[in-house]
């Protein structure tokens, strides 16, 4: 059979979860990571990252709005997807994820963004006219009270929402890990480490995304980059990445040492079909090189321009590396037979429903939304200071 090596159960030859399902944990991870970065300032009082606070919130929102789309596009019957909310099957990790997602969107992120921007929204609603003014008027939800007392209440409520938001963000992405980690039929996925690996890789990718977005935005706006902020964010990126990489290596070492019935099959796969995507792209290019770049900035004092280049390079490589990690989990987990006797191949189609074209469109969409959100709710603190 073409593309098949050894023996696969006949129904296994075709992959069930494609490129779109790779995007789903990737995008969700960026949401969770960006939110955790935002909470550093809000809850843990890391004032240095203040310039990225609003940016991180908007990044999280833009990606969160897109997160369910790849799943929706992948379903055989998307018109029935509401049944997951109406008649959920409580033992299904996937059904419960729907509720975790809704909770996170409605109870955490939207409220936090609204509270943070309320004063700006009210000011815009009072000063802007025409359709844009109407949008801002709608966004005030009828509340124009921005007295210092009411802002203090906003701040307190915002704090509580963020405190609830941190475990929610953990839940959101830990849960995505659980969807894979709880499939006992598949040894590549089935490990209790999966949720926690997903969580730390999410934080790593989310922080890297905000770091890159911050630098690119400042460049486009021709504004100076707050180096103290950048150094601090990069430091957190480094810490998270070290934890993430250690967990992934722990998983690898554990599998190699235990060498259970699936090991030979998985080992063969890593050395052949996943060699490029796992060893070269994920581990070498997407992990060891950016970790070394970040480690270098922690060990030695470089001049600003070099630090900026290292940070941007490291965060972009990190984003590639984490994408490769999602690919290796989702696609890698379907390339070998559950009989451990054979391997299949996956070729990405181009213009098909689950092909490269919709995947690229879905990856561009969050940036379009981000751009629209930035226009609507400018995150720039210096602009705010000027207005004030």
């Amino acid at each position: 059979m073409p593309g098949v090596e050894g023996f696969m159960y006949p129904n296994e030859v075709e992959l069930q979860w494609s490129l779109l399902i790779v995007l789903y944990p990737y995008i969700t991870g960026l949401v969770a990571g960006a939110f955790i970065l935002a909470s550093l300032e809000r809850v843990f009082k890391v004032e240095a990252v203040r310039p990225t606070y609003r940016l991180a919130l908007l990044t999280a929102l833009a990606f969160l709005l897109v997160a369910p789309l790849p799943l929706q596009l992948h379903l055989g019957h998307p018109e029935r997807s509401l049944e997951m909310y109406l008649t959920p099957h409580r033992s299904s990790a996937m059904a419960m994820f729907g509720f975790v997602y809704l909770w996170y969107l409605m109870a955490v992120l939207l409220i936090e963004v609204w509270l943070e921007y309320r004063a700006d929204i009210v000011a815009a609603a009072q000063s802007r006219t025409g359709p844009v003014g109407w949008i801002y008027k709608a966004l005030t939800l009828g509340s124009y009270n921005v007295s210092p007392a009411s802002r203090r209440i906003d701040d307190k409520v915002g704090y509580v929402v963020t405190v609830i938001g941190i475990p929610s963000a953990f839940l959101l992405h830990g849960y995505v890990g659980f969807i894979f980690g709880s499939v006992k039929a598949n040894p590549w996925w089935s490990t209790p480490l999966m949720p926690i690996v997903f969580l730390f890789s999410a934080m790593t990718s989310g922080i890297a995304a905000v770091l890159a977005l911050y630098m690119v935005s400042m460049k486009l706006r021709k504004r100076p980059i707050d180096m103290h902020c950048l150094d601090t964010v990069a430091k957190y990126l480094f810490y998270m990445f070290v934890i993430d990489f250690s967990l992934e290596m722990l998983d690898l070492v554990h599998r190699t040492y235990e060498a259970d019935e699936s090991f030979q099959s998985l080992d063969f796969m890593v050395h052949t079909r996943l060699w490029i995507s796992q060893v070269l792209i994920q581990i070498l290019l997407g992990t060891l090189i950016p970790i070394s770049m970040l480690a270098a900035t922690q060990l030695w004092k470089f001049r600003e321009s070099l630090r900026r280049a290292l940070y941007l390079g490291a965060s972009l490589l990190t984003l590639i590396g984490i994408f490769a990690m999602r690919w290796n989990v989702v696609v890698g987990g379907q390339l070998f037979s559950k009989s451990f006797l054979g391997y299949t191949t996956y070729k990405v189609q181009f213009a098909a429903r689950e092909g490269l074209l919709p995947a690229v469109a879905l990856m561009i969409l969050p940036f379009v939304l981000f751009f629209a959100l930035v226009k609507l709710l400018p995150p720039w603190t210096e602009t705010k200071a000027t207005q004030a």
């Binding site: 159960y9 006949p10 029935r80 049944e83 033992s91 299904s92 969807i179 499939v183 039929a185």
Partner: protein, 248 residues
Amino acid sequence: MDFTRRELLIRSSKLLFLTATAARALDRTGEQPAPGDTYHMADHWWGMIVDIDKCIGCGTCVRSCSKENNVPDSYFRTWIERYEVSENLQHPTVDSPKGGIDGFPPAARAELKSFFVPKLCNHCENPPCVQVCPVGATFLSPDGVVLVDQSYCLGCRYCVQACPYGARYFHPEQETAEKCTLCYHRITKGLTTACCETCPTGARQLVDLKDPKDPVHDFLRNNKVQVLKPQLATESKVFYNNLDGSVR
């Protein structure tokens, strides 16, 4: 009420006439239990026994299943694997050309231990596919058959991933998950499955574990029986006689 005696009589006879007509009409057109429809789900607990030594790999079961259930090409509700095993149980050579639908070519190495293993959904008592379905479209029926409600399945394919036996596939036209139904449309009418009916050697037999007279009880007591992947604790109800340790 003020009725005259005459009015009362007229009304009563109208009522009687209409009721009788309606009852007659219902008798003709209404839902009536068919004569053979005495099937009670609670009285059954279905499974299958497969005797490895009896399977000759002819592929009749695969063909009859495919025809009976309109299985799309290159997907399988049941299939046959041929194992060729040397002394090393860990590295058997396995093939299943087109799921064995056309039988098998002669074995390449006649000196090796060789046997056929018919496979199908194991209708597990603890089915991992049912556990993961986000809407409960796939379920274990009260008579022990794992089924999919085609009008409810989202087509997310989580169940296909969760099945350790590769027994499920995604129907390319219906865009829903599909699998062996143990010929539910037949067994609830007192028939056996298409694969069991057509097997020329009786290698596969539908069994009812709740029926005290079913030969399955003797079979389980008197043979060396194994299920596939027992370590996954799915409580499979497809029991294999003389299953070799190399079979996955």
